[in-house]
């Protein structure tokens, strides 16, 4: 479980996050949605420790993360897997080396054990026989799957996905969404997905928070989101003609 309490963050005079609080449960796909520039990415970076919030608290299964000494912070980070928007694969390493990387840094496993674990993760994301390719030799969808394999190789408790569908075609996007959802259930982990792709939200979102102008504007399930009368979230969710038509048809 991840709990955020009264989190605020500003850059100079610009207040980006304003007193945000929420709780993300284990075994669920928790989605952070909002317009571009609303503060989603900053919120996520605060949650994983890449930015230090001005005020507030972040608790990983009850352990306060922000004020922890660096070494203890590292221990929590070893339980975090992250899928970046641009995959962030190490371009000088092969697919297999990328997936094995956290194991080589933090475990005493033998090379063959590491290879087995990496292959297991690659098979889980339906990527076989690509071990010796460089990331640049794979497609965008494959890179996302490799990044998911790398994110889960250490059997994390928390999985963060920053716009996992950006730059992907609709079919591949569904494959990635499904993988994220399945892995969350299988591994019983707390998953946080940052997105502004409404298909994704409808497809896999269990618990959704809507960030608007740096504040947590709305929170609920996707069923509640569809029915809400909140003007800002309706403007966001039904921004496209497709979603408007769908809403009209479904009443």
């Amino acid at each position: 479980m991840i709990e955020v309490k009264n989190l605020s963050k500003s850059f100079g005079e610009n207040l980006v996050l304003d007193d945000i609080s929420f709780k993300f449960e284990r075994g669920q796909v928790n989605m952070i949605i909002g317009q571009s520039g609303s503060g989603k990415s900053v919120l996520t970076k605060c949650m994983v420790g890449l930015h230090k919030p001005d005020t507030g608290e972040i608790l990983y299964d009850g352990t306060s993360f922000i004020e922890l000494p660096l070494e203890e912070k590292k221990e929590i980070r070893k339980n975090i897997g992250m899928l970046f928007q641009a995959s962030a694969l190490f371009d000088s390493m092969t697919v297999e080396e990328n997936v094995m990387f956290p194991l080589t840094m933090f475990t005493d496993m033998s090379k063959s054990e590491m290879r087995d674990r990496a292959n297991e993760c690659l098979e889980r994301v339906n990527l076989e026989d690509k071990n010796n390719l460089l990331p640049s030799e794979t497609s965008g969808g494959m890179q996302k799957r490799i990044a998911i394999a790398r994110a889960i190789v250490m059997k994390p408790k928390y999985l963060f996905c920053d716009e996992p569908n950006s730059g992907l075609d609709p079919q591949t996007a569904i494959v990635i969404d499904t993988l994220i959802s399945e892995i969350t259930r299988e591994m019983d982990i707390t998953t946080v997905v940052i997105s502004h792709d409404m298909n994704s939200v409808i497809e896999i979102g269990d618990h959704i928070i809507f960030i608007y102008k740096g504040k947590k504007w709305w929170e609920g399930s996707k069923q509640e989101m569809i029915k809400t009368t909140n003007q800002e979230i309706n403007d966001f969710v039904y921004a496209s003609e497709f979603m408007k038509t769908l809403k009209d048809k479904l009443g």
Partner: protein, 246 residues
């Protein structure tokens, strides 16, 4: 104010670089890779530069000595002094700052803008140590070898051109390069080399590590890395010479 900010941030970064590594075995592999990337791949440039500069120093010295009172071995003596004291440790370091420095800054800068450094941090890896320490140690290890090779080749290039063009005999040149030789000159050159190796690798890594934005910014940080490394090399060259030789 800006300078103080950068100096402070550089010192903090270096502090992180020299903190305890997570996995020594991995760092050893990275060190070997960097020795190859920084050193071995620069060997061609070092050989070419040193040979030709040695030749040119010899030719220029010979062409500028008109007086019959100046002995012919002065050509060898001048070539040796120029190469050991200045060309190999300083000028070659400036050239390597361009090649190695821009390479380090653009490699780390690209990793920064493509979030690879963030990925390392989230995994719990000390990204500064992982990316920069092997480069600094690799540079400190391999630069002295490159400079010694350069010294030999520079002096050899001078001998080869001097003898082949007939401006000096082999005996005179060899006497010149042995004349009044002080081994401390090599120690002085090595001290400079180690300082410059540290500057080139760490300053370039600093510029790459704090690159922001797009590919354009990576290019800018790469240029800045070369400019700042070069300015520091020139400044420290003066300071070290003043402290050690005078």
């Amino acid at each position: 104010m800006n300078t103080i900010f950068h100096v402070g941030r550089y010192i903090i970064l270096i502090g992180r670089v020299f903190s305890r590594p997570e996995n020594l075995k991995i760092y050893w592999h990275l060190f070997i890779k960097e020795v190859d990337k920084i050193g071995i791949s620069s060997l061609g440039l070092v050989v070419l530069m040193s040979l030709f500069i040695g030749m040119v120093i010899t030719l220029q010295t010979a062409s500028n000595i008109d007086s019959p009172l100046i002995p012919a071995y002065t050509v060898g003596f001048t070539a040796r002094q120029s190469i050991i004291l200045e060309f190999s440790p300083t000028i070659l370091s400036l050239i390597l700052a361009g090649k190695v420095g821009s390479n380090i800054a653009s490699e780390i800068g690209t990793m920064r803008v493509t979030e690879q450094i963030d990925a390392l941090e989230i995994m719990g890896v000390n990204s500064a140590a992982y990316l920069i320490l092997p480069k600094i140690l690799g540079g400190l290890f391999i630069f002295p070898f490159l400079i010694i090779i350069s010294m030999f080749l520079g002096v050899f290039g001078g001998w080869a051109i001097g003898v082949s063009t007939g401006i000096i005999t082999s005996n005179e040149y060899v006497y010149g390069i042995q004349y009044d030789f002080r081994p401390f000159s090599v120690t002085y050159a090595m001290i400079k080399t180690l300082v410059f190796a540290f500057i080139i690798t760490s300053v370039s890594a600093y510029h790459g590590y704090y690159a922001r934005g797009s590919a354009l910014e990576v290019g800018k940080s790469s240029t800045q890395a070369v400019v700042f490394s070069s300015v520091l090399i020139l400044t420290l060259n003066y300071i070290i010479t003043q402290l050690i030789l005078i």
